[in-house]
Amino acid sequence: MAKYITRRVFYMFITFFLIATATFFLMKALPGSPISSASKLSPTQLAVVEAKYGLDQPIPVQYAKYMLNLAQGDLGNSFQFKNASVTDLIIDRLGPSMLLGTQGLVLGVAIGILLGMIAALRQNTIWDYGSTFVAIIGISIPSFVFATFLQYWLAVEWKIFPVGLWKDGWVSSVLPSIALAMGPLATASRFIRTEMIEVLSSDYITLAKSKGATGFEVAFKHAFRNALIPLVTVLGPLAAGLLTGSLVIEQIFAIPGIGEQFVKSIMSNDFSIIMGTTLFFSAFLIVVIFLVDVLYGIIDPRIRLSGGKD
């Protein structure tokens, strides 16, 4: 197991390095720079500013410098926020985003699993159709539509939750988390339904029944854990979906999260924040995928062993 984890961590660093490199050159290949949008500068002033940020140097040199700084956890300085360090800016904004993402994922997956289980166990009944309906809505309607809908009814009309901002503590996170949860909810319920139905018709379930297991025991002691396995594999992509989803949701609820800052930076071509946030997102996903694999091994004993010696 230790050997497996060491190997995985090594690959994680390689992956991150490649993503950093690719992002850097992609950014360089884009037209425009943070300074070019400030058209008031004269050519000489422009040259001075460029020199200050090292933008006048050849690209390989810039790349080497960037990577060296990155290795020390320094993502450079922002162009728009008074030269604040990008690392600090991201960390400041991390709290709200993390809370929204985690709540959205946990809520969505938990309710999705529940709906999927009900649908599978009450196949072709009103429960099943209801759960299918919810899933179709969750998949086909983008989260920002839910967001505005929730915002309008629960906040503006009925005033149960704040309309936006991050000032009322935890209640501020409720509506955006629900909006974010819809996607994972739909995906999880579909996966669990399909897999539960499949698992429930497998031989080992028949064997469990032949031992005298009750319907409840069959569903939860035998089928559930096996039905979770494919869902675990999509948890990574689901988490990724939440990242991009939260970019928009944070805008709608005016939440000072990492996504909101990211969108603003794209508008103003703030190169170092875009780079920093992208890399942060990548690192986050790499870690999530790793954790998912570990979780996979915990749920499925067949994986546990093939990872290396226990």
Partner: protein
């Protein structure tokens, strides 16, 4: 001998999109205490459905008992509630399945899987149940049972897994053990080992066994009596000797002729021509008539009733009707019959019956 199970006129259908599949079309047999009854027949003849009906393991939504009874210790199993059935499954009647690679839960240790029926049906502590599980594993010939009990199914070979499934089935000393082709999915050497184990257990434990197989070669080895099944019906039933040496139904003749044996090894193996009937539209008369060289006109019109050959032997074929013409069975069958006292071709000197 005391009857422990009685299946009377059982009829069962599946409701499918294509229509009603009449999988069981009037099955009668009984099982006596301590005996092994083999059910043989080509695949699709309804062997598994019959036994799953006894265990009530068929999907409730699509299967329907149309007629008949399954009497177990006087109770009609077709009438029991789910709850009542759960008390019987695994305790009084248990089952071994065909494919050991898929019949164990991959995410549960085998110890827990063996302990489950024990904890369910007996008032014992977990520690006691674990001890029983270890003993069971030892009984089915698993080396180092104490260590292996903590492992998962994927850490065992096919043969070992079937041993585990057998251990699970035996956990509560069932009165009836149903083995549905327990060796079919295994390779030949392992097949022999598992059969050996089953025969061994048969002697050690006092359980009635229903042994399903499509392989007649296995039957002679394990069974006391044989029921031959075809097209959702039992067409012939008798003791092993009666079925092997005095068969009456043309389908049984076909099955016996297609059985490889040492002396026919060089000859081309016989295969019954044609395919089993489509149970969506079961034929009117004898379901085997269309594939049979011995079919009479009436076979196409009316299903034959059971004709008694001896107290223990009966067959559903019009050939046994007093008015039926005398037909000569295939040569290999006649050869067999020559060895059976009581058959019309008997060449020995012993008395007519035995």
């Amino acid at each position: 001998m005391e009857k422990i199970l009685e299946v009377n006129d059982l009829e069962l259908s599946f409701h499918t999109f294509a229509g009603e599949v009449k999988a069981i079309r009037g099955v009668n047999f009984d099982l006596k205490k301590g005996e092994t009854l083999a059910i043989v027949g080509e695949s699709g003849s309804g062997k598994s459905v019959t036994t799953k009906a006894i265990m009530r393991l068929l999907p409730e939504s699509s299967s329907e008992f149309k007629n008949g009874q399954i009497l177990f210790n006087g109770k009609d199993l077709t009438k029991l509630s789910d709850k009542e059935m759960q008390k019987i499954r695994g305790k009084d009647i248990s089952m071994i399945f065909q494919d050991p690679m898929t019949s164990l839960n991959p995410t549960m240790t085998i110890g827990n899987q063996i302990m489950e029926p024990i904890l369910k049906h007996q008032k014992v502590s977990k520690t006691e149940a674990r001890k029983v599980a270890v003993d069971l594993l030892r009984l089915v010939g698993m080396p180092k049972p104490e260590a292996r009990i903590k492992q998962y199914p994927h850490q065992f070979s096919g043969g070992q897994r079937q041993r585990i499934v057998i251990a699970i089935a035996l956990a509560c000393n069932p009165q009836i053990l149903i083995a549905d082709e327990p060796t079919t999915a295994l390779d030949v050497t392992i097949q022999a080992q598992i059969l050996e184990l089953m025969k061994d257990l048969q002697k050690k434990i006092d359980t009635s066994i229903i042994f399903i197989t499509h392989d007649l070669g296995v039957v002679a080895n394990v069974a006391d009596r044989v029921a031959v099944m075809y097209g959702g019906k039992i067409v012939e039933i008798g003791t092993v000797d009666e079925i092997f040496y005095n068969p009456q139904h043309p389908y049984t003749w076909g099955l016996l002729s297609s059985m490889p044996s040492l002396d026919t090894a060089e000859a081309k193996l016989y295969a019954i021509p044609g395919t089993p009937p489509d149970l969506l539209y079961p034929p009117k008369g004898d379901a085997f008539a269309l594939r049979s060289d011995y079919a009479l006109k009436i076979d196409l019109e009316e299903a034959p009733p059971f004709f008694k050959v001896s107290d223990t032997h009966s067959a559903a074929t019009w050939l046994l009707h007093p008015d039926a013409p005398e037909v000569e069975p295939p040569l290999a069958i006649v050869e067999r019959m020559k060895k059976f006292p009581g058959s019309r071709y008997y060449e020995g000197t012993e008395g007519g019956t035995y």
